[in-house]
Amino acid sequence: MPRTIIPFGPQHPVLPEPVHLDLVVEDEKVLEARPSIGFIHRGLEKLVEKKDYVEFVYIAERICGICSFIHGQTYCQAIETIMNVAVPPRALYLRTIWGELSRIHSHLLWLGLMADAMGFESLFMHSWRVRERVLKIIERTTGGRVIFGTCKIGGVRRDISGDALKQMLADLKQIEKDARDITRVFLNDSSVKDRLCGVGVLPRQEAYDLGCVGPMLRASGVVQDMRQLGYAAFKDLDFAPITRTDGDSYARCAVRCEELFQSMDIIRQAAMKIPEGEIAVKVAGNPNGEVLTRTEQPRGEVAYCLKANGSKNLQRFRVRTPTFANLPAMLKLLPGCELADVPVLVLTIDPCISCTER
């Protein structure tokens, strides 16, 4: 059978962002996948020379639209570690609440895209309908639907009043009901199971060796979640990472579905325990030193390496995003699959290419 090379991307209906894969195919079976990226490379790491470290929060937030808040939060956290700033506890709780809201919206977005990858358009639309309610909460509390703009070095810029928190919790009840409806379809429907079960099985040791992070790793049975490091308010909150042992696409979908409800639970805990107090401290001076901060984005562990030398601009700003760490797993999973499984496998790592390429 002669081999053909089929280009997948950069424009493809299932891809949220452009990535290019050259698939070497022999009669519907993929033999090899060669990636090439760079379509959305904006050189954000080089911008650190032009924008000072205070303004850079806005750039860090705009690395990606889906995981935007946690990028901003991690950047602020890294600078606060270098400069030894003690962030007030109320700000930490607020950051946690917004971070978990960001995770809920990101997982709902992913669920919709996964349904779209399988061709299940109506489920895609329903997932995004549930996401609309989350975006309304976010807009009401932060001012923007996608880019929150609330993190700053030393704390947060906006407060959520007690009434707004109560309204948020009431909205979350409705969101939980809707989310249970759609996750019931995802986890039980026969056509969804046909497309997801047994596709892209990643054994436990291989997932760990390939450097996978986030739900990819947890669905293969490794208990690892950067929220265990106890940043922001997580040291006071009670949660355990969700894992599955099968390691196939269905397990990854199930982990993300369950993380939706876990995030809602974390928000409820944080809303009950949130202390009164100020929301930011004043920060003066320039950072000097270096740090490696890791937090848990919806897609996995993000590592921020910042290096500062006492001037207004940082010397180096390096982001290692979770999709970059999951790409080797995708390249290992693709050979041997059917051509129709390619969209499912590309989406199962939850690709956020604008994060990967900054």
Binding site: S36, G38, F39, E49, L292, E301, C305, G310, R318, A325
Partner: protein, 151 residues
């Protein structure tokens, strides 16, 4: 829940010691977190970070500016080939023996390294408040090479 400790120390090592140190970490079960390159006025600085359940181990290498070469660790950690291809495409670092070598086509930019200037961009030592964008006078903004402003 109690937070896990994160030790931030970075160990500077010579290029020759890289492979055996990385192998020792692999045997203890560490996983690769990231590999990054920073362009300093006196050369290229590489940082390798590994982690095991909250414990971090970081190595630092310093390479000269002309013809920087480093051996690939993708024989030990297969996933490192992506980081090494990225460093090759954006910083011009020659990595020997990558498991999957894209030969410069990983980052599919129209202009390849060094992105418009005749030699590799090097940061001019700047004053504390200056933000000299010292590299690449090309009309299209350089896609990725990160230069450092140093005092």
């Amino acid at each position: 829940m109690t937070p896990l400790p994160q030790d931030q120390s970075v160990e500077p090592i010579p290029v020759s010691a890289l492979l055996e140190k990385v192998d020792a970490l692999r045997k203890q079960g560490y996983r690769l977190v990231q590999i990054s390159a920073t362009r300093l006025p006196d050369g290229l600085e590489l940082t390798y970070s590994f982690a095991l359940e909250g414990r971090l181990a970081q190595f630092r290498l310093h390479l000269p500016d002309d013809n920087p070469r480093v051996p690939s660790i993708s024989s030990i950690y297969w996933c490192a080939f992506l980081y090494e291809n990225e460093m090759h495409d954006l910083f011009g670092l020659a990595v020997e023996g990558m498991a999957v070598d894209f030969k410069g086509t990983f980052y599919n930019t129209a202009i390849k390294f060094p992105f418009g200037s005749t030699k590799a961009p090097v940061a001019k030592p700047a004053t504390t408040t200056a933000t000299s964008a010292s590299s690449a006078p090309a009309p299209t903004p350089p896609p990725g090479s990160t230069t450092a402003t140093a005092t």
